[in-house]
């Protein structure tokens, strides 16, 4: 493209224009450009970098591996820096960074990615609580409050497939609203709901398996454990 094409017929400054003393106007123009770049850098440092712990925790939740999380975090901030000009001032930088984080994570897992289409959130919600009902009849719901589930949940989360994991991590661990998760994941809210509910149901099933294996089961009351097999 001809340089003149870029600025309404006006010649665009060449890289050396700023040192051309014959055209005094260009020198301050380049200085202003450098100043703008520096201001952008300062804004990036002030508005994006403070979220490195949040990004790290989110990456760790997704990858469940410290080395993989490190790679995702580094790539996230690199991409964020390179596309900082697209960030809308005043919007939620944490949410924006989470979007990039998940994209970086998915790219790194592309070969393992599984595509699951689930749109009916109501059915997922219902089936989830129906499962809970059945477990409740065995008294298994009380198990949730009797034992320390955190280790089992971390393991279950580790095993949870995408796209369910991202939805659960964002809403249940990172306390994002459905709307925010929808924006981060780039899917409609209904899809967030269905992924979230399905993910929770899978986690519940894994927890009940864990509870049975740990001897907390009430299977002697009906041997309902076979329903999850």
């Amino acid at each position: 493209m001809d340089d003149r094409d870029r600025a309404g017929g006006q010649p665009a400054p060449s890289p050396a224009a700023g040192t051309n003393e014959e055209d005094g106007r260009l020198v301050p123009q380049m200085t202003a450009s450098a100043e703008t770049a520096r201001e952008d850098d300062l804004r990036f440092e002030a508005e994006a970098l403070p979220y490195i712990d949040d990004v790290y925790r989110f990456a760790l939740s997704l990858t469940r591996d410290a080395a993989d999380a490190d790679d995702v975090v580094q790539e996230t901030f690199l991409r964020a820096y390179r596309s900082w000009h697209t960030f809308q001032p005043g919007s939620d930088a944490r949410r924006w960074l989470f979007t990039i984080t998940r994209n970086v994570f998915l790219r790194s897992r592309e070969r393992e990615r599984r595509h699951v289409d689930l749109e009916d959130g109501d059915l997922e919600a219902l089936s989830s609580f129906v499962a809970a009902t059945d477990q409740g009849r065995d008294g298994s719901d009380q198990i949730l409050s009797r034992i320390d589930l955190a280790p089992a949940l971390r393991r279950a989360l580790n095993e949870l497939d995408e796209p369910f994991k991202s939805a659960v991590v964002l809403v249940d661990l990172e306390d994002q609203s459905y709307e925010a998760a929808s924006e981060i994941l780039g899917v409609p809210i209904g899809t967030v709901r269905s992924r979230l509910f399905r993910g929770r149901r899978i986690l519940q099933e894994k927890l009940m398996t864990y509870a049975r294996d740990a001897g907390f089961t009430t299977a002697q009351r009906g041997q309902r454990g076979s329903k999850d097999d």
């Binding site: 770049a37 520096r38 850098d41 300062l42 990036f44 440092e45 970098l49 490195i52 712990d53 990004v55 790290y56 925790r57 760790l60 939740s61 490190d70 975090v73 580094q74 901030f77 690199l78 820096y81 390179r82 109501d122 919600a125 219902l126 989830s128 609580f129 129906v130 809970a132 009902t133 477990q135 409740g136 719901d141 949730l144 409050s145 589930l149 955190a150 949940l153 971390r154 989360l157 659960v168 809403v171 249940d172 661990l173 990172e174 306390d175 609203s177 459905y178 709901r193 979230l196 509910f197 929770r200 986690l203 519940q204 927890l207």
Partner: protein, 86 residues
């Protein structure tokens, strides 16, 4: 699924339970579910189960997880290599 002979439909209430627990319903819907739970002994255990489950899930959040210093340095190094001037 259990049935309830109350004037509010149990199926509808259970369908909305996750949204209710996540505070994602409109205020009117929140009230509707809350009133149902107050009156329906069959649905209340579902609510309690979901509440306890979500609390346990939230506890799995590694709130104290901080980016290691080595990672911070690595990120800053890569950003400076990409042009960060500060």
């Amino acid at each position: 699924m259990t049935e309830c002979k109350r004037d509010i439909d149990c199926r509808g209430a259970v369908q909305k339970l996750w949204d209710y627990l996540d505070h994602e319903l409109t205020p009117e819907r929140m009230d509707e579910v809350r009133r149902h739970l107050e009156r329906c002994g069959n649905c209340l255990p579902h609510h309690e189960y979901g509440r306890v489950f979500l609390a346990a899930l939230a506890s799995a959040r590694q709130a104290d997880a901080r980016a290691p210093d080595a990672l911070r340095r690595r990120v800053m190094d890569s950003l400076r290599a990409a042009g960060l001037s500060t």
